[in-house]
Symmetry: C4
Subunit: 274 residues, 4 copies
C-alpha cells in the first residue's frame, strides 16, 4: 500500500481542451435523497457540478426538488419514482447511488433496478445506504466498473470485518472479492483497485462532519465523468477532497461540505495551472 | 465573418442615464422550466436580472416557484398554465422561450401560443428545447425580431446541417432562411444577423457545463431589454458572457452559471467606466 | 423643499444602547406577496431585518413560506388568510402593506382589514398595489402615522396628478390632503411630511430595477421600528437606501435589492461610528 | 458570580484529535419550528452544524423541510409528527427543544413526549416556547443534564421573578430549584450551574435581533456534543456566541444570526490555534 503521490492530482486535473463542450466532460446521475436525507443528494450533486462534470441529474424523492434547485440550479431533477428514470440511466457516464437513499423497500427497489440497468461501460458508484442494503440483502454486484465508498461501519457490514480488525491486509483481501475499487473511508482513507492499493496521505479532523462522504461521492463522480475511470483519477478525487478540506481548515475549525464544495473550483484551477 | 470587435461592448454598455426608472431598462419574460429542468429557467432569469433588465418575469411550472424566489426574489413568477400568461406576453419587451422547456405536449402548446402572441416590435429569443420542437414539428416562425440560440446539435436539427459540416458558409446560408439572428453556440460562437456575420473571439472551456446556454439567453434578454435589438447589442451580449467567464476562469477550473451571473454586474461596471 | 442634510443619517443611526434586547428595536409586520409577487415581500422583510428591526413577521400567501425562510430565516411567517393575522397586527410597531400584494379581491380584503385594525400609535406604511387599490376603490385612510411610498405612476393614480405635472408644488398640495407623509419615489425622491418637504440628494440609475421599492419599504419599516417616526428618521431611511446603492454602484452596473440589503449593515455601522 | 474567564474558550475549543470521525463529535437533535416559526429551527440547527457537531437532525413541521435543506443540506429532517421521532431521540447526545416550537397542543405533546423519552446520559436543552409551556402547564422536569435558556420574560414565567427583580441572587435561588443549568439571557447573560454561577463579560447590542437565542441554542448543542457537558463547555458556548458577534459587529450595525453562524468556524479556528 503506497501513499497517493502528490503528483497524481496534477496528472489528472490538467487544462481543459480548448475545443470542448459540456458533453466533453461527461454526464452524472446521482440517485439518492429520500424524504429524511435529501441534503445528502444535494451535497453529492453539488460535488459533481463544482468538480466540473458536464451535466448532472439527480433522481431523488420529489420533496427534495425545490431545495436542490434553490442551491444548485445547474442540476436537473427526476423524481425517483418516475418511470423515465430507467431510460435516463443508460444516457450517463457515471451513476452514483446511495447518498441519503435510506434502506426501506423503495430504496431497495431503486437499487436493484439500478444494478440491473447499468451498462458495462458505465461507472457505478455505490455509497452509503446502498452499501448497507447490499450487505443486508446479499445482493449480487458483478459490475466491473464499480466504486465502493464505505465508511468503516459500512465496510464492516459489507465485508464482515469488524472495525478493529480492518487493516490494509484484511481490507485488501475482502476488496478482492468485490468487483471494481473499494474506498474505505477513515481519517486516512484506503483505496483498493483491481491493480493496486493506495493510502490517502491527506485529511483533517475538521472534515469529520455529516455530509462529507456524500461530497466525496460527488467529486468522484465528477472526476470520473471528466477524466475517465482509472487508478489515478480515483486516487486524485480522494486526494482533492482532502486537499481542499485541508486548505479550508487553515481558516476554519470545521469544514462543512458546502464550504468544501465552494472551494473546489479554485483548488482545481491551481492544480491545473501548476 | 469578422470577430466581434472588443470596442463594441464599450459602445453598448455605457453609463446609465441619470433620470431613469426600472421601466427604462425594459421588461423580460422567460418562458421555460418544466418539472425536470426548473434550474434552466432560474439561470436564464438570473442572467437577465444581473444584466440589468428593469423587470423580469418567469412563466414556469408551478413547482419551480419556490426555488426561483429563494434564489432570485427580484423575479416575478406566473405558472405556465395560468391563462393570464397570454395577457402578460404583450406587456414585455423581450420574450425568451426555451430554457428547460422540454419537448412534451405542454411545451409545444406553450411554444405555439407564444409564437402566435408575440407582437412585431417585441424581441423573441428561441432557445433549447423550443428550437428542437420547431425542428421536430416544422413550426413556422415569421417573427423578424427573433434571436435563435442553438447549440450545434440543435442547429443540426433546425438547419439540417450535420455538426461536422457546420461551417461559416453553410451556417450563413441556413441562417438566411430563418427570420432574425442565429447564434450558433460553440467554443467560438458564430452569429448571423440579417446584415452581418460575426465570430466571438472569446470563450473558455471552463464554460463547458450545464446551464451556460441558459445563462446566455438571460444575458441576451437583459441586453436587448436595456440597449435595444441590433447587431452591436447582440454581439456585446455574447461577448460579455464569455468575457465574464474568462475572468472567473482565471481563478476557477470550471465556471458555473451561478458564478458567472454573480460576476456580471462588476464586469459591466468596468466596461461602462472604461 | 430642501435637500436631506447629510448629517441627519448620523443623527438617526447612532450606537445602540448597551442594555437592550430585541424588543428595544421594534416589531415590523410586512403584509404582501401574493402568488405572483412573492419576492417583493421577501425583499421588504429582508430590508427590515438587515436594517436592524428587532422582530420581523411577514403575512403573505402560504406558497411563499419556504422561499422566505430559505432566504431569511430571521423572519416569521403567517399565511395571509390566517385568522390570527388580525390579532398579530396590534402587537407590532410598524405595519407595511403593499409589496407584491396585488390588486385582486383578496388583496383588497387584506387592505381594508389592515386599515381597520391599525391603532393610532402604530406606523403604517402603504406601498405598491395597496396604493393602487386605495386609488381605485377610493378607500378612506385617516391614519395619521402613515407613510405613503408611491412611485410616480402610483402617485398619479392616488393624487390624480399626471407624471408630467408632478412638481414639488403640485405634489405638496396633494400630499397635504393625505394623512402622514408622502414619499414620491423617482431618481430624486421627494418627501412631504406634515411639517416639511425634502428632496433626496442621492440616488443612482443603477437602482432602477425591480424590487428596489420593496427594499425601501423594508428599510423605512426597520428605521421607524428602531428610531421612531419623525421627519429625520424617514428622511434618513430614504437617504440610507440611496447611499448604500451608490456605494454598491461603485463596483456594479446594476444594484440589485439583494446586493443592497447585504451591504446595509456595514453602511449603518460606518454611519454610527462616524 | 464570576465573569467567564477568557481562557476557558481556549480550554474547551482545542485542536481536534487526528484520528476522529463524525461520530466523535456527537449527534444533535433540534426539535422545533412550527409552521410560523420555521426559521428558528433552521437557525438553531445551523448553529450546531457550524459549531462542529458531527451529525445534526431536525424534527420540525414538514412545511419547513425545503427551507432547511436549501440553507443547510448538512442537516437531516424528520417531520415532527413522524412516529419514528421517538426512536430517534435515544440515538443522539443532545436534544434541544423549543426554538420556534410554539405553544399549542402539538407543541405540548412534542414536549411531554420528549421529556419522557430523554435518557439520563443525554443533554437536554430547553428553550423558548418549551420554557413557556413548562411554566404554563407546570410540567415536571427532573432531568439532571438539562440546560435552560430563557430570556428574561421566559425566566419570569418559569421562575416567577419579575424582570425588575431578576438579580444574581434571586436568579440563583430560583435556578437551584431546577435541575441542571439555567442560562438567563440578557445583555450580560448569567449562568447558574449546579456548582457555580457565571456572568458573560461579552455581548453587544448589535445582537439584539430575532433568532439570536435560537442560534445560541445551536451553538450550545454543538459544543456539548463535541466537548461534553460541564461548566466550562457551557460557559464557552455562551462566550463564543458573544465573541463572534462582537467580531462581526466591528463591521456591522446589526449582527444577524446568519452572519454570526457564518463567522463561527473561523472564530473557533483562531481559538483552537491560539
Amino acid at each position: 500500500m503506497k501513499d497517493i503521490p502528490a503528483s497524481w492530482i496534477n496528472d489528472v486535473v490538467t487544462p481543459r481542451p480548448a475545443d470542448s463542450y459540456k458533453g466533453t466532460f461527461g454526464r452524472v446521475l446521482v440517485i439518492g435523497g429520500n424524504a429524511q436525507f435529501g441534503g445528502a443528494a444535494i451535497m453529492a450533486a453539488s460535488g459533481a457540478v463544482y468538480a466540473g462534470a458536464g451535466l448532472v441529474s439527480v433522481a431523488t424523492a420529489a420533496v427534495n426538488r425545490t431545495a436542490l434547485h434553490a442551491r444548485l440550479p445547474e442540476a436537473m431533477i427526476i423524481p425517483d419514482d418516475d418511470p423515465q428514470l430507467l431510460a435516463l440511466i443508460p444516457t450517463v457516464d457515471v451513476v452514483a447511488i446511495g447518498p441519503g437513499l435510506g434502506t426501506d423497500e423503495r430504496a431497495a427497489r431503486l437499487l436493484t433496478q439500478t444494478l440491473a440497468a447499468v451498462a458495462p461501460q458505465q461507472c457505478l458508484i455505490i455509497d452509503g445506504s446502498a452499501i448497507t442494503l447490499i450487505a443486508q440483502k446479499h445482493l449480487a454486484v458483478a459490475h466491473a466498473r464499480t466504486l465502493w465508498t464505505p465508511h468503516q461501519m459500512e465496510w464492516q457490514r459489507l465485508a464482515g470485518i469488524p472495525i478493529s480488525q480492518q487493516t490494509p491486509q484484511t481490507n485488501q483481501a475482502a476488496a478482492a472479492n468485490l468487483p471494481g475499487t473499494v474506498i474505505v473511508k477513515s481519517h486516512r482513507t484506503q483505496l483498493f483497485t483491481p491493480t493496486g492499493s493506495y493510502r490517502n496521505p491527506l485529511g483533517t479532523p475538521a472534515m469529520a462532519t455529516g455530509g462529507m462522504g456524500d461530497t466525496l461521492v460527488g467529486i468522484l463522480a465528477g472526476f470520473v465523468a471528466q477524466f475517465g475511470l482509472n487508478d489515478k483519477t480515483v486516487c486524485a478525487a480522494v486526494y482533492a477532497h482532502s486537499a481542499v478540506a485541508e486548505e479550508v481548515a487553515k481558516r476554519n475549525y470545521v469544514v462543512l461540505p458546502s464550504m468544501l464544495i465552494q472551494a473546489l473550483p479554485a483548488y482545481m484551477h491551481q492544480v491545473a495551472e501548476a
